[in-house]
Amino acid sequence: MLYREAGDFKTTYSDDSQTFPIRFDRMGYYVTLLIAFGVIPLVINDYWANAVFVPFLIYAIAALGLNILVGYAGQLSLGTGGFMAVGAYSVYKLMTAFPGMPVLIDVLLAGAITALVGVLFGLPSLRIKGFYLAVATLAAQFFLVWLFNKVPWFYNYSASGMITVPQGKMLGVYVTGAQTTASAKYLFCLIILVLLAVVARNLTRGTVGRKWMAIRDMDIAAEIIGVNPLTAKLSAFAVSSFFIGVAGALFFAVYLGAAEVTEAFSIQKSFLILFMVIIGGLGSIFGSFAGAAFLVLLPVLLKNVLVGQFGWPTDLAAHLELMIVGALIVGFLIAEPHGMAQLWRLAKEKLRLWPFPH
C-alpha cells in the first residue's frame, strides 16, 4: 500500500475537511490509538510512567494550549507556569472541599477557573501587542506565583506551605494519591489528552480557528473583514488557559502528588512549554505532541547516556542540556520556524510523490 492520495477521491466537503485526508495517515492514527489504549497500559511500570509517559501526556496538553494562543492566535505568552499553578491550586481546593467528587470533574472545573483567570490577564492584549504583551504576561506569572505562595488560604494553611493531593477516584479506580497504579495515572491523562486534542483540532479547523489565524496574520485586515478582536483574542486566551489549567491540575494531582508553587510552576516552566511549541511547530496540533515528546525525552536520554554511560557529573549534563535546547531553539527558528511538524510534512510530501518527484 503506497502513501498516496491519488485515486482516493473526496465526494463531500466533510470528507475533504477531515483530519487525516490520506488513508495511510488515517491507518497510522488508528494504530497509534490502539497501542496507546490497548498495549501500553498493560506493560507500563512506575519508572516509565513517571519518567516518560505521564509527563509527556501532561506537557502535551499544556503545549496544545499554548500553541492555540501563540501558534494560532499569535499572542505570545510567558505566563504558562502561572496559569498551570492556577489549575493546580484550583484542583487542590476543589478536591479538599468536595472529597467525593469524581476527579475528572475537579480537573475540568480547574480548567474552567484557569480560563477565567486567563481571560482576565488577556485583557491587556486588546491594547498592547507583540513582545509588549509577552512582557505583560510575565506580570501574570510573577503575581500568581507570589499569590499562591503568600496567601495561606490557597494551601489550606499547611505548615510547610506545600499542597499535597488527597486520594481521588474515577469510576472506582484511584487516579490520585499514593495508591494509584502506573497504568491508572497513564490512562487518566491519556483520555483527557485525547479528548482535548480532538477539541483543539475541531476549533482550529473551523470558524474560531480562522478568526484566530486572521488576527495572527494581520490584525487590522482581520478587523476590517469583520473579526471582533475582543472576542477573538479573549476566546484564544480562554481556550488556551483552559488547556493549560487542566495540564497544571494533572501535573500536580497525578504527576507530582505534592507541590510547592515557586518550584513547580516557576518561569522556567513557562519557557519549557514555549520551547515545546517552537520546536514542535507553531500552529500545529501534531507539533505540540512532537515538541512535548522531544523535550521530555531529551533530558532522560542525556541523563542515561552522559551520566549513566560515561559517568559525567549530573550538573554538567544539565548544563549541556541548556546549551542543546538553546541551540535547537535558535536553529529551528532560523531553519524551520514551523518546527518538527513542518519537517514531518515535508518528508510526507516527498513520500507522497516518491518515486517520481516531478
Binding site: 476549533l203 470558524t207 480562522r210 489565524m213 496574520d217 476590517i224 500552529g283
Partner: protein, 274 residues
C-alpha cells in the same frame, strides 16, 4: 446620458438600471494633526453602479476609501449608509453592515490556505458557538459545509480552483489580488470597495480583473466603489467618476463629463501622461 439626482436612479448606456442612493458622503473633512487629507467633499454612491475615485498621488483617494470603510472617522461631515447616518463604528461593525474591501498592498492572511482565506470572508455569518464548534457536532459542521459550498462558487467564478489548498504566501502577486477579491466577495457585500485593484498588474492580469469586476457587478448586482490610478481602465469600467486633487473634489460625473472637465484636465490628465 445626464446623471440624474432623482431618487429613482438612472439607466446606463448599456441598459443597466441603477437604483437610489446607497451611500452618501456629506461635507467630509479629514485632518491628521495639522495635515488636511480631505477637504469638504460630498458625493454619493448609488445602488448597483460602479463608482470610481481617481486623482494623482497624494490626492487623498486612499484616505477617502478608509473613511467609506469606516477605518478612519472623518473630522467633520457625515456618512449615510442606506439613508441612515453612520456614527463612529469599529471596523468589524462596518463589515457587518455589508461593506467589504480589498487593499492596495494586499492584506491576505499569509499563513492560511486560499480556501481558509476566502472562508474568513464569511465569518460574519457564522452562528454556531464555541462549544458547538469544539465538538464539531450538529450546527457547526452543517454550517461549515453550507458556507464551503458558497465559497466554492466564488472560487469557480474567479477561476482559482487549482490553488484552493495552497498557502497564500506562496502565490504570485496577480493571484493574490484575485484571492483578496474572492475573500471580499465571500461576504456577499452590498458595497464592495476596491483599493487600486489593478496596481502592479500586467496587461493580461488587468484585463482579467476588469472582466471579473464587470461580471460580478452584472451577475450579482454588487455596488462597487474603486480607486484607481490607471485612467484608461477606470474610464472603461465605471459609470460615474469622482476626481480628487490635493484633498478636494474637482470633478464628478460620467467618464465623458469628467474627460471634458477643464479642471480635471489641468490637474490630472495633463500631468498623468508626461
Amino acid at each position: 446620458m445626464p446623471v440624474s439626482h432623482a431618487e429613482e436612479g438612472y439607466v446606463t448606456a448599456d441598459g443597466r438600471q441603477i437604483g437610489g442612493t446607497l451611500m452618501e458622503m456629506k461635507n467630509i473633512t479629514l485632518r491628521f494633526g495639522g495635515v488636511v487629507a480631505i477637504k469638504d467633499i460630498s458625493f454619493d454612491i448609488r445602488d448597483g453602479e460602479i463608482r470610481a475615485i481617481i486623482g494623482p498621488n497624494g490626492a487623498g483617494k486612499s484616505s477617502m476609501l478608509n473613511v467609506i470603510s469606516g477605518f478612519y472617522v472623518p473630522t467633520e461631515g457625515d456618512v449615510y449608509f442606506k439613508k441612515v447616518k453612520r456614527g463612529p463604528m469599529k471596523p468589524y461593525e462596518v463589515a457587518r453592515l455589508g461593506i467589504a474591501r480589498t487593499f492596495q498592498n494586499i492584506a491576505l492572511f499569509d499563513g492560511m490556505s486560499v480556501l481558509d482565506n476566502i472562508m474568513t470572508g464569511r465569518l460574519t455569518m457564522i452562528k454556531s458557538g464555541l462549544l458547538s464548534q469544539a465538538l464539531w457536532y450538529g450546527s457547526a459542521a452543517r454550517e461549515e459545509y453550507a458556507h464551503r459550498e458558497k465559497v466554492e462558487r466564488i472560487i469557480d467564478f474567479l477561476e482559482i480552483q487549482n490553488i484552493r489548498k495552497t498557502p497564500v504566501g506562496r502565490l504570485p502577486y496577480g493571484l493574490k489580488k484575485r484571492v483578496e477579491l474572492a475573500r471580499a466577495l465571500a461576504a456577499e457585500p452590498k458595497l464592495l470597495l476596491l483599493d487600486e485593484p489593478m496596481a502592479g498588474m500586467n496587461v493580461e492580469e488587468k484585463e482579467d480583473m476588469s472582466r471579473f469586476i464587470l461580471d460580478l457587478n452584472d451577475e450579482f448586482g454588487t455596488t462597487i466603489c474603486l480607486i484607481e490610478h490607471d485612467m484608461g481602465v477606470v474610464m472603461d469600467l465605471s459609470d460615474r467618476v469622482v476626481v480628487m486633487d490635493y484633498g478636494r473634489k474637482i470633478g464628478d460625473g460620467t467618464p465623458d463629463e469628467v474627460r471634458n472637465n477643464q479642471d480635471v484636465i489641468d490637474a490630472y490628465l495633463g500631468v498623468a501622461h508626461d
